[in-house]
Amino acid sequence: MALKIFKNFIKRMFSNLFKNKKEIKLGFYGPPNAGKTSLANRICKDFTGEELGSVSKVPHETRNVQFKEKVEIDYKGKKLTFKLVDTPGIATKIDYEDFLKYNMKKGDAKQRAKEATEGVVESIKWLDDMDLVVVVLDAAENPYNQVNITIIGNLVARKIPILIVANKIDMKKADMKKIEAAFPEYEVVGISAKYGKNLEEFYESVFKLSKKVK
């Protein structure tokens, strides 16, 4: 009997040890230009010293899924290892003419639009692989965009834990209350990825949510 209890104890200890060592796949999803890459860059730079991808005012700057493995986040003495997955913004329409407004040449704009459409498809495909998803929204934009609702609906259907991040709270137009009212069933953390504002609360929420990862 004593031997059995001891065996179970050892087994539990080892399983917990491996559970803690597991790399959590943390996805960044959301509409284009919400600041997914800015946030992923901020985390990467804080904990690895390197950035993940380039950012731009022109929408659809991220057109391929990009990731950084073995990012060990140390928060208040606790450590978790993540694979950060930064995804292209999900949209329902892409018009190359929209890129021309940013002084882009027609050929480049068409190429960007083509890559952006492929990026959306890739983002959707990666949904199944995520352990935990941060839905990044622009706090200055209307949150009742169907893309946001569709992404969240899919994550709920897949039973993937969700954290909603209202980015760009440094902007005058930012409206945290509107985001919270739109998604009352979820925790919403307001941050500014650009200026590193309120990231402590963000990390706390990520660690809290990591406990729900199966």
């Binding site: 999900i90 949209a91 329902t92 329409k93 892409i94 018009d95 639009a113 083509k114 459409t117 492929e118 959306v120 498809v121 959707i124 949904l127 209307n142 009742y144 965009n145 169907q146 893309v147 609702i149 569709t150 992404i151 609906g153 899919n154 709920v156 259907a157 739109a182 009352p184 069933e185």
Partner: protein
């Protein structure tokens, strides 16, 4: 300025609004549902669908739409909005009611889904109780 924009509606080349009752898609599989919807949209119609698609069907619709951009002439994607009766009020009670209705009717018929081609619909502005369709000139 707004009045002037309103008067310019006559410049739109033409579109129609098509209503699709849920009974028309209830018996269809996901592939057929999406094909039917895209067929309506590609014919330059704004679709008003009784009910809503499943979450995975909505993403498949977005994915299929993206795959068509650049391959179908002048197609730039879609504008999509869902307005549901569960917005506002007691969410838990609404959710229970919805689930009960879904079991009886075989799908979510309490919502309204509006889908339009992006060439016609410039933007769908929505809040929990209202959808505004802004059309391209």
């Amino acid at each position: 300025m707004a009045e002037k924009r309103g008067r310019n509606l006559g410049k739109i080349k033409g579109f129609s609004i098509q209503f699709l009752p849920y009974s028309e898609i209830r018996g269809l599989g996901s592939d057929e549902r999406i094909r039917k919807i895209l067929g309506i949209i590609l014919a330059n119609n704004i679709l008003i669908l009784q009910g809503r698609l499943k979450a995975d069907e909505e993403t498949r619709l977005i994915g299929d739409t993206m795959a068509m951009i650049g391959h179908v002439k002048d197609f730039k994607g879609i504008e999509l909005a869902v307005i549901s009766s569960s917005n506002g009020g007691n969410r838990a009670v609404n959710k229970m009611k919805e689930e009960l209705v879904n079991i009886i009717t075989g799908g979510d018929v309490s919502a309204i889904t509006i889908i339009g081609p992006a060439t016609i619909v410039k933007e769908m502005k929505r809040n929990p109780k209202k959808i505004e369709l802004l059309l391209n000139k």
